[in-house]
C-alpha cells in the first residue's frame, strides 16, 4: 500500500535542462554573424607574364575598356568622415559613392548603359567571326576578353563588366594593361 502511494506521487517536471539548451541556442545564434554567403568570379592572370620566359604568340582578343563618366560623390554615414578611423573596427570609415557612372568602349563603339554593352557583347559572341583558334585543343573557341579599367573606376565597375561578359557568353576574361594601376 505504501509503495503504491509513493509511486502515485506527482512527478515534478524538471525544466532546467530545456532552459539550458534554449539559452545555449540563443547564445549560439547571437554569436553567429549572419553573413551572406559570398560568391566568386575566377580570373586567370596572364600566363605569359612573370612566370614564363618563352615567347608567346599574339592572340586575338576583345578589349573592353571601362572609363569613368561621372566620378561620383563619396557619402559618409552621420558622424563618420574621411581620414578618420572607426573606433569599433579600427578601420577607415566606409563611404558610399553616389552618382558614379562609367562608360564602356568595345572597339570603336562607346556605351553608357550596361544593357547596351550587354547587347553589343551578345552580338559579338554570336558572330561566327568571333571564333578564334584554340591552341590547347586545336579547335576554335570564343574570343577571349580583356577588361581594361581606367583610373577612376572601381571594383564594382569591373565586376559589372565581368558580369556582362559572362551573361553574353564570353567566359574567358583577362585583365589587361597597367592603365588601371595608377591614379
Amino acid at each position: 500500500m505504501n509503495f503504491l502511494e509513493t509511486v502515485r506521487e506527482p512527478v515534478k517536471f524538471d525544466m532546467t535542462p530545456m532552459i539550458d539548451v534554449v539559452f545555449l541556442m540563443i547564445i549560439f545564434f547571437v554569436c553567429i554573424d549572419f553573413r551572406v554567403l559570398e560568391s566568386k568570379l575566377p580570373a586567370f592572370m596572364p600566363k605569359d607574364k612573370g612566370s614564363r620566359t618563352t615567347v608567346v604568340e599574339p592572340q586575338e582578343q576583345l578589349v573592353v575598356r571601362v572609363h569613368p563618366a561621372t566620378p561620383g560623390t563619396p557619402v559618409y554615414a552621420p558622424g563618420a568622415g574621411p581620414d578618420r578611423l572607426d573606433p569599433e573596427t579600427r578601420r577607415p570609415f566606409r563611404f558610399q559613392l553616389q552618382g558614379h557612372q562609367v562608360r564602356w568602349e568595345v572597339g570603336p563603339r562607346s556605351f553608357e548603359d550596361q544593357q547596351a554593352l550587354l547587347a553589343e557583347l551578345r552580338r559579338i559572341a554570336e558572330d561566327p567571326e568571333s571564333q578564334v583558334p584554340d591552341k590547347a585543343t586545336g579547335r576554335t573557341k570564343l574570343i577571349p576578353v580583356v577588361v581594361e579599367a581606367m583610373p577612376g573606376t572601381y571594383y564594382a565597375d569591373v565586376a559589372q563588366t565581368m558580369d556582362a561578359c559572362h551573361e553574353a557568353g564570353l567566359r574567358e576574361i583577362n585583365f589587361g594593361g597597367s592603365a588601371g594601376t595608377r591614379r
Binding site: 553573413r35 575566377p42 600566363k47 612566370s51 577607415p92 566606409r94 565597375d157 565581368m162 597597367s178 594601376t181
Partner: protein, 177 residues
C-alpha cells in the same frame, strides 16, 4: 527487503546538473572559437553584386585571402600589410607576404605547384576581397603582385556577393545602371 526498497524510493533523488552545465559551457566556447576562426580572414566589406558568379560554398581549405579596403589598404589576417599612405607605390610588403604564404604553403604541403611545365606557378587560387567602392587600381596592383614570377598565384578569385548590402531588397537585375 520490502522496507529497504521503500526507503530507497522515498529518498529525494537530486539531479546533478554540473556535468550538463559543463557541457553547455564547452559547447559555447567551441562555437565561439569556431565562428571567430572561420571569419578572422574576412574584413567587413560591402562586396559588389553580380548575376553570374560561383558560390564560394566549398573554398579550398588553405586558400589565402587578401582584403583590399576602400582606401587601398591590404589586410591579411586582420593585419594591415600595405597602407597606401605609408607605402605609396612600394608593394614590397604585399610581395613579402605573398612569398611567405607561398613558401609556408609549399613546405607544409597546403599549396601545390602546377604540374605541367615547371614554371613555378601555383595550382591553388588566392581570394581577393575588395569593397565595391575600392578604386580598381588598388585591386589591379595586388593582382599584379600575385602573378609575379617568384610568387606565382596566377589563379585569382574575386569575391562577390549575392546581394548588395547598400541596396537592401535588390532584385535580380541589380541596383546600379
Amino acid at each position: 527487503m520490502h522496507k529497504d526498497v521503500l526507503q530507497i524510493l522515498q529518498k529525494d533523488v537530486e539531479l546533478d546538473m554540473t556535468p550538463m552545465i559543463d557541457c553547455v559551457f564547452l559547447l559555447m566556447i567551441f562555437f565561439a572559437l569556431v565562428v571567430d576562426i572561420s571569419q578572422k580572414n574576412l574584413e567587413d566589406l560591402v562586396l559588389p553584386r553580380a548575376t553570374f558568379r560561383q558560390l564560394d560554398d566549398k573554398p579550398a581549405e588553405h586558400r589565402p585571402i587578401l582584403n583590399v579596403l576602400q582606401d587601398g589598404s591590404v589586410v591579411h589576417n586582420q593585419i594591415v600589410v600595405y597602407d597606401p599612405k605609408r607605402h605609396g607605390d612600394d608593394f614590397e610588403p604585399v610581395r613579402a607576404l605573398l612569398r611567405s604564404l607561398r613558401q609556408a604553403g609549399l613546405s607544409q604541403k597546403k599549396l601545390a605547384l602546377e604540374a605541367d611545365d615547371g614554371s613555378g606557378r601555383l595550382r591553388d587560387p588566392i581570394l581577393i576581397r575588395a569593397d565595391k567602392w575600392t578604386e580598381w587600381h588598388f585591386v589591379a596592383a595586388v593582382m599584379q603582385q600575385c602573378n609575379l614570377r617568384d610568387i606565382g598565384f596566377w589563379k585569382v578569385e574575386l569575391a562577390l556577393s549575392e546581394i548588395d548590402r547598400e541596396l537592401p531588397g535588390t532584385g535580380p537585375a541589380g541596383g546600379r545602371k
